[in-house]
């Protein structure tokens, strides 16, 4: 069985020599890479026994971990945190500079290396902070000196904003800041100055994953860093009170303690949009609102329909995760979705009769199966005016199997696929990709995309195109466990649902999302092990995230 070589390691010379039909490895590390260092996917490390916030455990000897980091909050995390800190009751809707979809983490939006504070974003932070403090009602200082009240406020608000107690130097700085403003503008001005400053502080804007320098190159994260890591991973927000208290008590340093908190956090409201967003990224619809279509070809693709498509998939994800069994398999095979009038028309299903409201609806199992065959996902991976089997095939290979396909070699002149009203899309693309310079890679991509030809460019089911029957037969090669033919979207979804390769890919993307970076070989091997452990149950996505929090990689870092 052949597997795909990672694009990052395939030289041009090698590509030209062997093309995409070379000896292949489906993942950067391969699906069954040799075991990494002697660390468990579910965590080891010796719990600390010290006092105060606990003595951090020592990193297992011989193991390699991800790098120490300071990770800028995503826009969602920043706004959620501000809302929590100031008890706003609603998340600010102010526009922030959009996070880049980073190529190195396969188009996730939280790659730590790409998240920086540009001049624009710094200005946006400042503008929002200024606006918020103007509307903030300062509690008057009751009893005692204003300076003492200020000290209390600095320490209390700072503990929440910094997600740890302020150290002595920080406290002194803020006391001086407070005193200066107190003398100029009074108590309210001084309190709002502290807030305005903390909302722009690097200690608020970045999540520290630095550990204790005294531990040297290999470090364990301290309990406050772990609390922060847990809360943003699972709720995109600050640690809540129980988690903060656990951090203060040093009760997050064992695997069991992390697991307990992770499971608790998963019961909070914040977990729902957080996990939903990851799965939106996984299937590529997180920015569906930016997706235009050719109105001449798809006149029904209105903003209302597009928004309904996104809401459908979001609602479906929520239903699977929180009402269903939360498994990857169900995500791919559920025989239902959520439909309103416009979507019903697209599905060819009866209008549920509740206007724009989405209603859970059983779908024709010969036409639809889970998230892969939902219109938003299909539309996202189509052209503006046609179905685009190449794009869909690439999505399955790269997005759902984590395979890395090399870009076309240099000097590859490509003519557009000519329009022909007498041919189906499949027929046109077959002819187009037949040349020797193209066929190596397209033999891997196109047959997968052809299996989705029953859906047009906005995901509407079709059996005829240009007066000809649609051929939706597909075929996999160069996979771990899916090689062979299939017929249509539901069969493709079933194949993926039963595959260890796709489960390992979901786990790998979850890992990249959790840590905001690409993985190392050794880490990927451990992720594969987690996926393997959970595969028998269809890979419960919530259990997957919990498993990540239990891994040694969650608690240890290598300083560079």
């Amino acid at each position: 069985m052949q597997r795909l070589v990672t694009g990052s390691v395939l030289s041009l010379a090698l590509l030209s020599a062997v093309g995409c039909s070379s000896e292949v490895s489906s993942r950067p590390n391969g699906g069954t890479a040799p075991a990494g260092p002697a660390t468990s996917p579910t965590g080891t490390g010796t719990p600390g026994t010290g006092t105060g916030v606990g003595t951090p455990p020592q990193a297992p000897p011989g193991a390699a971990f991800g790098p120490t980091a300071i990770r800028r909050l995503t826009n969602t995390q920043y706004k959620n945190s501000v809302s929590t800190l100031l008890k706003l009751g609603a998340v600010p809707t102010d526009t922030f500079e959009t996070e880049p979809l980073s190529q190195s983490t396969r188009y996730l939006d939280n790659n730590s290396a790409s998240l920086t504070v540009s001049p624009i974003l710094a200005k946006q932070y400042a503008t929002l902070a200024e606006k918020l403090v103007k509307a903030y009602t300062v509690t008057p200082c009751a009893g005692g000196s204003e300076t003492a009240c200020g000290d209390t406020f600095i320490q209390t608000f700072g503990r929440s904003a910094y997600r740890r107690p302020l150290n002595a130097t920080e406290l002194q700085r803020y006391q001086a800041l407070f005193a200066g403003e107190l003398s100029r503008t009074g108590y309210t001005g001084a309190v709002t100055q502290v807030i305005e400053t903390m909302l722009q502080s690097p200690n608020f804007v970045y999540r520290a994953e630095l550990g204790d320098p005294a531990q040297g190159a290999k470090r364990s994260l301290n309990s406050h860093e772990i609390a922060t890591e847990l809360s943003y991973l699972l709720t995109d927000n600050l640690p809540d009170e129980p988690l903060a208290a656990a951090a203060d008590a040093g009760q997050l340093l064992t695997v069991e303690q992390r697991e307990q908190q992770a499971r608790r956090l998963l019961t909070l409201d914040g977990a729902k949009p957080t996990l939903r967003h990851f799965l939106e990224l996984f299937v590529g619809i997180s920015r569906l609102e930016e997706l235009p279509k050719d109105a001449n070809v798809y006149p029904t693709y209105t903003p209302e329909l597009r928004d309904a498509m996104k809401l459908e998939t979001q609602t479906f994800i929520d239903d699977v995760l929180w009402q269903g069994d939360a498994t990857f398999s169900t995500l791919l095979t559920a025989p239902y979705s959520f439909v309103n009038g416009p979507l019903a028309a697209l599905y060819g299903a009866p209008d549920p009769g509740q206007g724009a409201t989405l209603v859970k609806t059983s779908l024709n199992a010969t036409e639809r199966s889970g998230i892969l065959t939902q219109p938003g996902v299909l539309a996202r991976h189509s052209k503006a005016f046609e179905s685009f089997p190449i794009g869909r095939g690439k999505f399955v290979r790269i997005g759902l199997l984590c395979q890395v396909l090399p870009s076309p070699p240099q000097n590859l002149g490509v003519m557009p696929v000519p329009e022909d009203p007498n041919l189906t899309t499949r027929e046109r693309f077959l002819a187009h990709s037949a040349s020797p310079s193209c066929s190596g890679c397209h033999a891997l991509i196109d047959p997968v995309g052809f299996g989705l030809e029953n859906y047009d460019g906005i995901g509407k089911f079709r059996t005829m195109e240009n007066g000809k029957p649609v051929d939706a037969s597909g075929n996999f090669t160069s996979t771990i466990d899916m090689d062979g033919p299939f017929q249509g979207g539901p069969a493709l979804a079933q194949k993926l649902a039963g595959s260890i390769e796709s489960k390992q890919c979901l786990a790998l993307q979850a890992y990249r999302w959790a840590f905001g970076r690409d993985e190392s070989n050794n880490e990927a091997a451990r992720v594969d092990a987690i996926a393997q452990e959970l595969a028998a149950g269809g890979l419960n996505i919530k259990e997957l995230v919990v498993a990540l929090t239990k891994s040694d990689n969650f608690a240890f870092r290598s300083f560079n």
């Binding site: 069985m1 070589v5 390691v9 395939l10 030289s11 010379a13 090698l14 590509l15 070379s22 000896e23 950067p28 391969g30 069954t32 991800g66 120490t68 300071i70 800028r72 500079e97 959009t98 880049p100 979809l101 190529q103 190195s104 188009y107 290396a113 920086t116 540009s118 001049p119 624009i120 710094a122 200005k123 130097t169 700085r173 100029r184 100055q193 502080s201 804007v205 970045y206 520290a208 630095l210 320098p213 920015r287 235009p292 052209k383 503006a384 005016f385 090399p406 870009s407 240099q410 490509v414 003519m415 557009p416 970076r517 690409d518 993985e519 190392s520 070989n521 050794n522 300083f559 560079n560």
Partner: protein, 491 residues
């Protein structure tokens, strides 16, 4: 199941090459103002980088030969400006060729990373353990840290910004029409400082607020001071408070960033430096306090226009800089913002970028094009590709004409500018060489325009070296030394 890794061969090849490559070869010589430019004009010399996504076709529509940089071909929109132009033929981008080969064979990203820096190795990589140790094929993260740093050498806009950018409120400004949409991201990051991407502004309204948020500029105006009985200006108390509040806040934030820098690893230092730079810009936006040492002074973006042109004004501009995903108004807004940032002397270094060469979203239905730009690029001879590139050229020409139509001394702003047009691609089909390379503007009289220059296979590095020297540096090379043969004479 048989697992076979095939990376070692290519990795070793790249490792050995990496070690052969020296540091980016920009010489650390003392910076001095260009004698030539100073002698010939009292107006500031400006550099504008225009970045076309996806190159242009070869002459005659074939798949080889020179690029069609002819005024009866795809350069037709430039025809009226040809007397102001120097069109370079037979230019190579060998740094880009190498970066693209290393960087996941990714011609668009690789070309983008090299076109304004001309280097394979990078300064941001220096000091990183992965770089020092070379490429380790068994450690994918370390490997990727190296691979994704290829071509991220500091680009000429940033080199010049560091050298001459302190005389204006903004050392350099980057505008990108929808560059980060449609899977753009690091695919289309073309400007770097210390190994970190300098991302263009993509939202016109945010850009407008950043540049002009403290009020529209008026020539010669200053904040109204409070006049005392003795006739000397004294700080307005409210303004003074505002300044002190902002300054004390920023001082605290600077100290905190220093704390974090002391604890963070090498890979995070540039990230924090960028944050620091962003905060410094906020400081320049603090209100001026006469005699009190306020931010940058003046009323424009909080920093005083060093030499605002007579047409420095933005009537009705705020209404024209609304955000959106329609390429037309966004492009028009950035053209105006970029022009006014120069006209008001907010900066003397500007980069303008259109789209991402990896854009998968159709943007040109108004031209009758159904495809997305990336698809068009790969259809190098397709009609839609020609239409889209022509449209982008038209937007560039519109911008350049703003400079040309703005009088300055006996000439125009364009006469005192260097507009450098390039693309991450030679043509759209992953061909980086020959490279698109054209200069518009007389550089204050330093350049003799209205001609073609046959570079005879020399690299873009030599043109970049010529540009930075004309802007006032004394550089023997730009980018990796191996791609340099020296500056060229354009007088």
């Amino acid at each position: 199941m048989k697992e076979t890794r095939t990376m070692s061969k290519s990795v070793l090849k790249r490792r050995s090459l990496l070690k052969q490559l020296g540091a980016a070869a920009f010489l650390a010589t003392p910076v001095f103002r260009s004698v030539l430019a100073e002698a010939q004009t009292t107006f500031p010399l400006r550099l504008i980088l225009l970045n076309l996504p996806g190159g242009i076709p070869f002459k005659g529509g074939g798949d080889s030969g020179g690029l069609d940089t002819y005024f009866d071909g795809i350069y037709k929109p430039w025809a009226a400006l040809q007397s102001d132009m120097i069109v370079f033929d037979n230019v190579q981008n060998k740094a880009g060729d190498k970066v693209a080969t290393f960087f996941e064979l990714e011609g668009h990203g690789g070309g983008c990373r090299s076109i304004f820096g001309g280097a394979v190795n990078d300064q941001g990589c220096k000091g990183m353990a992965a770089c020092d140790a070379g490429l380790n094929p068994e450690d994918e993260a370390a490997y990727n840290a190296v691979v994704y740093s290829y071509g991220t050498a500091t680009t000429i806009d940033q080199t010049l910004a560091a050298a001459i950018g302190q005389s204006t409120p903004f050392d350099a400004l980057h505008f990108g029409t929808l560059w980060d949409k449609g899977q753009g991201g690091d695919h289309a990051e073309c400007f770097y400082k210390g190994g970190r991407a300098v991302r263009p502004m993509s939202d016109p309204m945010s850009a407008f607020t950043r540049l002009f948020g403290n009020g529209l500029p008026t020539v010669g105006s200053t904040p109204a001071p409070t006049t005392t009985a003795t006739g000397t200006a004294a700080p307005d108390p409210a303004t003074l408070n505002l300044y002190q509040r902002g300054k004390s806040r920023l001082d605290l934030l600077y100290a905190e960033i220093a704390d974090v820098k002391a604890l963070a690893g090498n890979a995070e230092q540039a990230k924090l430096d960028q944050h620091l730079t962003s905060l410094r810009e906020l400081e320049r936006g603090l209100p001026i306090v006469p005699g009190g040492g306020g931010g940058g002074g003046g009323t424009v973006g909080g920093g005083g226009p060093a030499n605002p042109g007579p047409t420095c004004a933005l009537p009705g501009m705020e209404a024209r800089v609304q955000a959106g995903t329609d390429v037309r108004p966004v492009s028009a807004a950035f053209n105006e913002l970029a022009y006014q940032s120069l006209n008001c002397d907010l900066t003397r270094i500007v980069a303008l970028q259109w789209l991402s060469s990896g854009d998968h979203i159709p943007r040109f239905q108004f031209l009758g094009c159904s495809g997305d730009h990336h698809g068009m690029e790969h259809s190098i001879n397709g009609g839609e590709y020609i239409k889209a590139q022509t449209w982008i050229f038209e937007q560039m020409v519109e911008f350049v004409n703003k400079l040309k139509n703005t009088p300055e001394g006996t000439g125009s702003m364009l006469d005192n500018s260097i507009v450098y047009l390039a693309s991450e691609m030679g043509n759209g089909s992953h061909v980086l060489s020959p490279a698109l390379s054209t200069i518009i503007g007389k550089a204050g009289g330093a350049f003799r325009t209205g001609r073609r220059v046959d570079m005879q296979g020399r690299n873009i590095n030599d043109i970049l070296t010529t540009v930075v020297n004309t802007m006032g540096l004394n550089a023997a090379t730009v980018g990796d030394a191996e791609f340099n043969t020296g500056a060229i004479s354009l007088s």
